[in-house]
Amino acid sequence: MALTLKIWYDKEADFLEVIFSDKAGYMRETDHDGIMERIDEEGNILGFSVMQVSHLSTEKPLIAELVGKVQGG
């Protein structure tokens, strides 16, 4: 099944948000302070956000674990 992504980037705020679903939800912190996962009330992942995007290393990937449930999984 195809998954539609919405990707928002605010240059001044240096803030990126990726949305998988337009459902109502809330943010939950991850093991990385700059990354939050967006989940619904059943714990399904709806997306994630990244702060200070321009400060990311060009040599190492940014790694965080999203623990919410993948929809349909």
Binding site: E12, A24, Y26, D33, E41
Partner: protein, 102 residues
């Protein structure tokens, strides 16, 4: 265009129309524009971001939101001559980091 909100220390904080529109696109935030201003003016807790020392997280607890009882967090960046809202969202708990208010 921007509106100027006031934080708990009386400082002006810009909220651009573009940022506000994006925040309010999230269904659970659709009717919480007024609460964003209230949270910034009267937070129950303010924490400094561990990710960016110029960023503060303003929290106020709300009962009965679309996704249950949650903290509203308004994220603000302060630089020498400016301050602006990065984002605002509902969350289940406050982030770790130094609490600077109250």
């Amino acid at each position: 265009m921007s509106q100027i909100l006031t934080d708990y220390q009386g400082r002006g904080v810009r909220l651009t129309d573009e940022r506000l529109a994006h925040i309010l696109l999230h269904p659970e935030m659709a009717n919480m524009e007024k609460e964003i201003a209230i949270t910034l003016r009267n937070p129950q807790a303010v924490r400094k971001s561990r990710n960016d020392e110029n960023v503060c997280l303003n929290y106020r607890y709300y009962l009965g939101t679309q996704v249950g009882d949650k903290w509203l967090c308004v994220v603000v960046k302060y630089i020498e001559t400016d301050a602006f809202v990065i984002t605002a969202y509902l969350t289940d708990k406050q982030k770790k980091g130094e609490q600077i208010w109250p």
